[in-house]
């Protein structure tokens, strides 16, 4: 536990921390890119670069296989820290193409943050100064914090404070979220669960308004994450709480925004590694003292 609480943990990014961050990022990235490659079937709604070039060539089994293979090789090079300027830029391009294909299917998952973090890292590696170890993580955090701030601007611009006042109407979105799961799985109990959650919200309006006001504050002040590692961790924990709250009450998980945030700000795989390491040392000490 000392490792978790010491000053170094909150100030510097260790090598193992950086590697685990990259492994997590690549694992999720590969999953998202693979889903797009498998599920993209049409270019009904050409957007972004797909409105400039004919993206239908990427819909065939061959081209999507090449794209997936390239993503796999790039991930391996990224994790092993090889040719980082070129690799992070190519990951940005693969991400740009994959998620634009998804959006051109009319499915707006808004994975912009995932794509842009790779470009931010390209800039960090081009700068290649003595702060590289911090900047390759801090630049993506800037993009993510900017994204959350944008989400709060969007709410205030569209609804103003009515976003909080009308929050109980989110009960409808809860039923919607749970009915998605019902339609996907065929499990009718999901719909019942949604109706119960919605009923709770309609009967506890003040609590709901308070929770929504808190989440708006978290999003607006996500900028504080850029300050240093400890502020990124604290904001990351608060934003994770917000996402888990949304998942529990609304059955809605905004994967493309949540994953980059938790990986760069909280780095749960490193937390898990630190806890296991601490536990292992504790057991080792116990065995030694008993001998």
């Amino acid at each position: 536990m000392a490792n978790l609480l010491n000053k170094k943990f909150f100030k510097e990014y260790s090598s193992i921390e950086w590697i685990l961050m990259k492994v997590s990022l690549c694992f999720i990235w590969m999953k998202l890119v693979t889903e797009v490659a498998i599920n993209s079937e049409t270019i009904y709604y050409p957007s972004g670069i797909c409105s400039l070039i004919d993206c239908s060539i990427f819909l065939s089994v061959y081209t999507s296989s090449i794209l997936l293979f390239a993503a796999f090789i790039l991930s391996a090079l990224y994790i092993t820290e090889k040719y980082m300027i070129v690799v992070t830029f190519l990951m940005f391009l693969v991400s740009l193409l994959s998620f634009t294909l998804e959006e051109s299917n009319g499915i707006l998952n808004r994975s912009g943050l995932y794509t842009t973090v790779f470009l931010a890292q390209t800039f960090a590696y081009i700068r290649n100064n003595q702060s590289l170890k911090v900047e390759r993580i801090q630049f993506p955090i800037q993009i993510i914090a900017g994204g959350y701030f944008l989400a709060s601007i969007s709410k205030l611009n569209q609804s103003g404070l009515n976003w909080i006042i009308e929050a109980p109407q989110a009960a409808i979105q809860m039923v919607k979220g749970f009915s998605y799961t019902y339609f996907d799985s065929g499990n009718i109990s999901e719909l019942d669960k949604g109706l119960k959650q919605a009923d709770f919200v309609l009967k506890h309006e003040v609590l709901v308004k308070l929770l929504f006001a808190m989440s708006l504050v978290f999003e607006t002040f996500a900028w504080l994450a850029v300050r240093n590692k400890i502020s990124a961790f604290a904001i990351g924990v608060l934003l994770s709480g917000m996402h888990f709250g949304i998942l529990y009450f609304m059955n809605i998980f905004i994967a493309a925004i949540f994953y980059p945030m938790i990986i760069f700000m909280v780095n749960p795989t490193y937390l898990l590694y630190s806890i296991i390491k601490w536990f292992y040392q504790l057991v080792k000490l116990g065995v030694q003292s008993s001998l």
């Binding site: 670069i49 800037q142 009308e166 919607k176």
Partner: protein, 144 residues
């Protein structure tokens, strides 16, 4: 001091300004999800002729939330004003046709029935409870 602040925020601010200027063009986005809570929400599902649900996980590559996204994208492209069940039957049929075409393009499991019906469910709050209205917006007969 100012230099330090700029150094720690310049990329984020640049991304923010580009998003606000360019809008919804990947990798830029305005992140408008749930920025308002109107008194309506749509969901879509497919059933056979008896009204039995054909679950997306088993039959289609597009999940239920993706299907709703597709509907909004079609409405935007076709200039259909959406919400509060104000779409006309013709508009719903137009959107439903494109949605169904996309859905049946590459089914995960062959359909055993003879008809596929695309439903739209509209949820809204009536005083203090949630009500729903389910309509069939498009229907196709499967050629065997």
């Amino acid at each position: 001091m100012l230099k330090k602040i700029l150094q720690k925020t310049s990329f984020g601010i640049a991304y923010l300004l580009l998003c606000l200027t360019i809008g919804e063009v990947h990798p830029f986005t305005l992140l408008p999800m749930y920025n308002r809570f109107p008194n309506w929400a749509y969901t879509f599902y497919v059933s056979d002729s008896r009204g039995s649900l054909l679950q997306n996980d088993k039959y289609f590559t597009i999940p239920a939330d993706g299907l709703a996204h597709l509907y909004y994208s079609i409405c935007e492209k076709e200039g259909i004003s959406q919400g509060y069940e104000k779409e006309t039957t013709a508009e719903l049929k137009k959107a439903g046709e494109i949605m169904m075409e996309t859905l049946v393009l590459n089914p995960l499991t062959p359909f055993t029935g003879d008809t596929l019906q695309l439903h739209r469910v509209c949820y809204s709050i009536n005083e203090d409870y949630i009500q729903s209205n389910n309509i069939i917006i498009y229907e196709i007969v499967i050629e065997k």
